[in-house]
């Protein structure tokens, strides 16, 4: 759902590409400043490489380190975790709303789990799934599940009473009540949960790749850092950022499609 009241900033945005240019300009200015700062010796260039070196290392990591292949690998792992997250997280929240006992029994410890560093359990996952992509996917999935479940539950339980009463006054069956009122009313909150979940998933996927030295971008970052190829390390981190950007673009499309369909 988008607000369509035109605020002054929106009119500004509509009037041209100025904000986008300002954004890019700020970024460029930051890089130029860093460049100057590092070259003038303000920062040790063997700890923080100047931006120009990072940019120069792109061709190298693309050709020699197969960064594109790794990028696809990490993106696939994240997407798989994201899909599982959506399916199981949303169903989990729905079930907890449906069965109050389940909610009373689980809500507190799921909330506690949300802030726990589940990533420390990675040895357990290694034992269960082996040293392969599933360990990474499951790790991302499990650590990101709590916010999706909790936000789904919050969204459904927070449906305004009067909307529920409208449904009742039209004699909806429980199934209709869910699909026609509770679920659409909760959708914006559910998307907040999925957004949070995806952030958790991405962090954990890359983190576990790094930790177990296996798979996509995380492993590459590990290797490059060990070789002390810092320019390459930062270049690889740029691809992680790219994964996250693509992720949220997909999600935004999905959200727009879902909340304004029909």
């Amino acid at each position: 759902m988008t607000m369509t009241a035109t605020t002054p900033t929106q009119r500004f945005r509509l009037s041209g590409a100025l904000p986008a240019l300002t954004g890019i300009g700020t970024l460029v200015a930051f890089f130029v400043l860093m460049e100057v700062f590092i070259r003038s010796g303000g920062l040790n260039r063997f700890i923080v490489p100047p931006p120009s070196e990072i940019i120069a290392s792109f061709p190298r990591i693309i050709v020699e380190e197969q960064v594109l292949h790794r990028f696809v690998l990490t993106l696939t792992e994240c997407l798989t975790a994201g899909v599982m997250l959506t399916v199981f997280g949303v169903s989990g929240g729905v079930l907890m709303h449906r069965f109050k006992l389940l909610q009373q029994a689980c809500e507190t410890w799921i909330a506690a789990l949300a802030s726990a560093p589940v990533v420390l359990c990675y040895p357990l996952f290694l034992v269960i799934f082996g040293r392969n992509a599933w360990t990474i996917i499951m790790m991302g999935f499990v650590s990101a599940l709590p916010p999706v479940i909790l936000k789904t539950l919050e969204g459904i339980s927070g449906t305004r009473k009067v909307l529920v009463n409208v449904g009742r006054s039209f004699n909806l069956t429980p199934t209709q009540q869910f699909w026609k009122i509770l679920f659409p009313a909760a959708l914006p909150t559910i998307f907040v949960g999925i957004r949070l979940g995806l952030i958790f998933a991405l962090i954990n996927v890359v983190g576990v790749e790094f930790l177990i030295n296996f798979g996509g971008l995380g492993q590459l970052i590990n290797e490059l850092a060990e070789r002390y190829d810092l320019a390459g390390t930062y270049a690889a981190i740029c691809f992680v950022v790219l994964v996250s950007v693509m992720f949220f673009m997909i999600l935004e499309k999905a959200e727009r499609w879902l909340t304004r369909a029909e």
Partner: protein, 280 residues
Amino acid sequence: MTSTPHNPANTDILVVDDVVVRFETQEGPVIAVDHVSFGVRQGEFLSVIGPSGCGKSTLFNVIGGLIGHTSGVVSVGGETINSPHQSIGMVFREESTFPWRSVTDNVAFPLELIGMPKAQRIERARHFISLVGLDGFENRYPNELSGGMRQRVSLARTLASEPKILLMDEPFAALDEQTRLLLGDKVLQIQQQLKQTTLLITHNITEAVQMSDRILVMTYRPGKVKRIVDIDLPRPRTSEIVGSEAFGRYVAQIWADLREEASRGMRDEEEHALHHVSTT
């Protein structure tokens, strides 16, 4: 100016017979509706008026089948009501449009439920959108509309289910006075056009006199029927009638009744607040 007896006649389409609603609260039982009886005639516009807290919304929820009652009978066309009934269409006081649906899809909601084909229900929805004067807003979403317009969408949505009785709980309470008067005109016009039996719950005397054939005045705690007043003003009416002398007389009469109840309500609330202060 005459007062009719409260006993429901058997020509009434909606009958509320000796209904009691008691809530069990932590501070003991609260009797929100106390032995209330009245009937609504086919095609008539009846308002229920009373100070806030007198049990109007409770009555609304009971007639709509949303909450149960302790004793008594509510029936529509001879059928006893214990759960929401398709003959009764409810319009709520709070904003109740579906923000994820366009105006057309909001209004077409009850038609969708009965499985009407899409093309047909869009056409039907258009009809009701036009009836409430929202032509041109079919594809807008509720967040693009004003409060008054959204309330009209809710009204159109309820009308689209073609209820025998339109039941409204302070539908204009959140609107400013001018919008309220103009919307009142709109409702009156629609009511006359559809010969829609209407039960309006309100705390606004002007609104009640402007629209009603009869007004039921409720007492404050316990909520009983104090009086039922016939409003013999000519129809069709518009908000212009508000300036007339006869209108003024009705307002004065109902205010005299209501004043007593409202001041009792105020005193009660003050005492309640004092009690709370002294015990905490």
